[in-house]
Symmetry: C2
Subunit: 444 residues, 2 copies
């Protein structure tokens, strides 16, 4: 059974049967947006589109899935037959992966016969939501590291294997240099990074023997020095290097516990005095953007960071208030009026206005409007097929993210909330349409 | 390529090569434990064992995986050949799924040739860690609902598809009644729950038409009443029911926004006055254990809850400080001495002592010790094969969780921190071994 074809909320299937039997088959537009950025985020970074489009393009129900759905007793045979021949035939506009975005901005819009657009709701929300969470968190950590490489050590602490593998990709897209996650390396061609674990040191007869044995096999090793006593560990690494007599018997040491600022300074001194100034210092252990910022502000001579839990689960903002809402059906704008849950009607576009290469404001407008600035939503799927010219490689998306992040106002790129949020306006035509639609629905 | 066989940190493979070349092939014991419970948790609920054991039992490297590893340039042919024939041949002791546990208690111990036990580190941490996070959060939400059914609506907000599917299973194990997640229903036979989305209501010519059309097909429907105005929505549902004339034209209404306490009271009154006292009220929309507790304390006549984001990502405690540490190698106890990162040496057991059916304290002891209380770690894999008598069905694990949770002290089961943490002692033999091992390592 292909679990993925069934990855939908049950109500998608019951609604689909209702659309089918009530003959609600006209074209609908659904819009994906985040209602409000999590408090600790100044922007979000769109991520997850590439794999999602491939999944939508190939979404099919096989006999096993149909059999399972039949067993639930809620579905008629004609409906199940229709599902058996399901193909997504619609159109998708979306922001490129690596595009920063803000509250209420549509990041993706689907236009298709309503049942098709409805069925993929859960998949879209899960895919774009989770990977946007990951990329947005990583962008902050990368910013805090001020050009020093960050490696993803989070596979063990992610909320599942899928989160770890897609997370590593999202982190890389946001500027993380490498990952420890071999499965993600294999799936996406990411650079891998590995050091050693305490268990290796403990299994050897002594720490020095561990370092010696490991560097004999891997001369470029990063030696983990905190298994017993960090500075004694550094001295063991130095003594081993001297005994080996080689030129570059190891590449780096890793500090994984204790006062990283203090220990990195002492370790740097020991290494430099031993003529090992080329040996880098890698720090890990409970790091996030704030602790990295503090370490560097404190002048800690750390050359690279390994970040696990906090990035892997975006611990300070693990969920998004992300929604996928009907905004048009049968050519007529739609919206809900529920308290505190605004949705903007119609097919839309987001324009980003720049001044001297810096983004100064976004305007959410109707799709056909011409507004100053660059349109951020691009046609990425037409008639159920991905648009080739919009299929970016991961490296291209990473470049796009770097450039688009660099073009954000400086305030926005920092870790603290900016004095004023980035300005997002709604075009007068869209505002008018919202007002008209609201009035029409209240009369109903 | 089987991504799962490669789901390991890169250092597992470099260490494995080092173990292989340095002839470190003796038996090791690794212990899995949580250093410190997250602040908002009074206990954790073990989860994730069943699928994990199946994955370990069937872990193999095929030609594609070997080819990828070879391409990295860090591995010798003899080592790759050894990996090609890899089988896990070891022994695993673990707590049953659904067992509550506390700080520093081993929840799983692996004994195997060191390379085998090392390789599965990342998989074990990820699987048990994430599913324990999910089950532990769900147990609190179920407790807050005081017997009212809770349904998992989190598929769209989970951190990946894997998190959503395994999450739904973990929630069910912890007492959640049903899920909206069809893929998880299919994978684990979970009861499914579905209502309708705002988009369905919006696509129909009117709310009343939507209710009429939907209940004609699904007489047991739960009608979503807040698309435009919640109480007008309730009145539309009532009017539709009266016009239909049937006995039970719908089963429930769902409130998804606004002041749920106030709206549920008003909706209850309208339904009762219309002779629809059998119609239940389901509430959803940003709920967690605290808001559920407040709603019920406030007397809100809500019969069931749908919970999404906060449960799906365990938003208030999205990660665990979970570790998998070497505690014995070649018959000799091992541990690390890193600052603030204690690990207890040797092979261990956890004994839970009861008084009048209530758990009064746990003792972490050496495995061969006889201590008052029930041993919680059980042999679940021997010589690389699952122990059949320890393979519980999901229903059995759910029963076990219910009974084990009911046996916790009342303080522990509540949402607030208990006046004193649940007592976890270390046996005098284990304390002595820790002391001896520390002294031995410091002499090294």
């Amino acid at each position: 059974m292909s679990i993925k074809a069934l990855f939908a909320d049950y109500y998608e299937f019951t609604m689909l049967r209702a659309y089918f039997e009530l003959n609600l088959t006209q074209e609908a537009t659904f819009s994906l947006f985040v209602r409000k950025l999590p408090a600790p985020r100044n922007f979000l970074l769109a991520c997850g589109l590439s794999d999602l489009l491939a999944e939508i393009e190939s979404l099919r129900f096989g006999d096993d899935e149909i059999r399972y759905l039949r067993s639930l007793g809620d579905f008629s045979e004609p409906f199940l037959q229709w599902l058996r021949s399901f193909r997504f035939s619609g159109e998708i506009f979306a922001m490129r992966e690596g595009t920063p975005f803000f509250d209420e901005e549509p990041i993706l819009e689907v236009t298709a016969p309503i049942a098709e657009a409805q069925l993929i709701e859960t998949l879209i929300l899960n895919r774009i939501g989770s990977q946007t969470i990951f990329a947005s968190k990583a962008a902050r950590i990368v910013a805090a590291a001020q050009g020093r490489p960050v490696s993803d050590f989070g596979a063990r602490r992610a909320q599942g294997i899928d989160a770890a593998i897609l997370g590593a990709r999202a982190f890389y897209l946001a500027g993380v240099a490498s990952t420890s996650n071999v499965a993600s390396g294999a799936a996406y061609g990411l650079p891998l990074e590995g050091t050693m674990a305490h268990s290796f040191v403990e299994a050897c007869v002594s720490e020095r023997a561990a370092f010696k044995g490991f560097t004999k096999i891997f001369p470029n090793a990063t030696l983990l020095v905190d298994t017993y006593d960090t500075l004694a560990g550094v001295e063991n690494a130095i003594a081993m290097a001297k005994a080996q007599g080689g030129d570059r018997p190891f590449r780096a040491i890793r500090l994984d516990s204790g006062d990283l600022a203090e220990l990195s300074r002492s370790a740097r001194k020991l290494l430099d005095e031993a003529g090992l100034s080329h040996v880098a210092i890698v720090a890990s252990g409970g790091l996030d953007e704030h602790s990295i910022e503090r370490l560097l502000a404190d002048g800690a001579p750390i050359d690279a960071f390994g970040v696990g839990s906090d990035m892997a689960a975006s611990a300070d903002a693990p969920t998004l208030d992300i929604a996928y809402k009907l905004t048009e059906y049968a050519g007529e704008p739609r919206m809900k009026l529920s308290a505190g849950k605004r949705s903007l009607p119609g097919r839309k576009q987001v324009f980003r206005e720049f001044s001297d290469g810096v983004a100064v404001r976004d305007v959410i407008a109707l799709r056909e409007e011409t507004v100053k600035g660059s349109p951020l939503l691009r046609p990425v799927m037409i008639a159920g097929r991905r648009v080739k010219s919009e299929s970016l490689t991961l490296a291209e998306s990473q470049n796009h993210a770097r450039e688009a992040l660099a073009a954000l106002p400086k305030d926005c790129r920092g870790l603290s909330a900016p004095p004023a949020p980035y300005p997002v306006a709604i075009s007068s035509k869209l505002a008018l349409l919202e007002q008209e639609t609201r009035a029409r629905l209240q009369r109903r």
